[in-house]
């Protein structure tokens, strides 16, 4: 994984978390700090995936696994 990949993920997750809070927060039931951190955590997993789309190592991993047939008959 390139160094830029987690950095992009961390920044993007912050933006996504803010957008999700703005979209889904109910006025009478605001997210607590802990709940918002939970939201950020799951956004981070997702956004690392987004960042990995631009990471050549992740692309190579896919290409390498595509060459393997896990279901061929064992001799």
């Amino acid at each position: 994984m390139l160094l830029r990949t987690p950095i992009i993920g961390i920044v993007l997750a912050g933006i996504v978390t803010i957008l999700l809070v703005l979209l889904f927060e109910v006025p009478g039931r605001p997210f607590t700090v802990a709940q918002a951190l939970g939201l950020y955590f799951f956004a981070l997993i997702t956004c690392i995936g987004v960042a990995m789309l631009f990471d050549p190592n992740a692309k190579k991993a896919k290409e390498d696994f595509l060459k393997i047939n896990f279901y061929e008959e064992k001799k």
Binding site: G38, I45, G49
Partner: protein
């Protein structure tokens, strides 16, 4: 999809009232049990492989077909029609969650043509290589993380843990 199935099964249980005409509550034990059982049922095809009864190629065949989903729903329906509906939706969403894998699913079994969205390379049916290989690829993080994110928002909307 691997760990993401957990989030997807929970998320399906959150829609139990909509799917069962209000007969099963969102995130109730009943909803969670039915959603999980049905959602994970197709992956039990690895058991005969582990036992040496079936070949590796048995994975993602009959158990991942529309015929299998229909048979399971029809078998459950006489006992509880709403379990059958929830189970059927859980099975169909399992297939949808597995479709991005390069191996594809033979949805129209016994016709063996496989359908795939081909977002990530298949890494086998079980074991450490399968798990590690899955999470070396981008789309698995994106979609499985997205499933957990979706579940988190659903939990907030329904006011269940950790939002009680």
């Amino acid at each position: 999809m691997q760990l993401g199935h957990v989030a997807v099964a929970f998320a399906i249980s959150s829609y139990a009232p909509e799917l069962t005409n209000g007969n099963i509550d969102a995130f109730s034990m009943e909803a969670i049990a039915v959603s999980f059982a049905a959602h994970w049922l197709p992956n039990l095809d690895v058991i005969p492989i582990w036992l040496g009864i079936a070949k590796d190629s048995f994975h993602c065949t009959w158990s991942h077909s529309l015929l299998f989903a229909a048979v399971v729903a029809l078998l459950i329906a006489p006992f509880n029609i709403w379990w059958a509906v929830l189970g059927l939706v859980s099975l169909l969403i399992h297939f949808l969650a597995d479709m991005p894998s390069s191996v594809g699913l033979p949805l129209l079994m016994p016709w063996r043509r496989r359908f795939t969205i081909n977002l990530w390379a298949d890494t086998g049916h079980s074991g450490w290589i399968a798990l590690k290989g899955t999470y070396m690829q981008a789309w698995t993080w994106l979609l499985e993380g997205g499933a957990f994110l979706f579940l988190y928002i659903r939990a907030y909307q329904e006011g269940v843990w950790p939002f009680m």
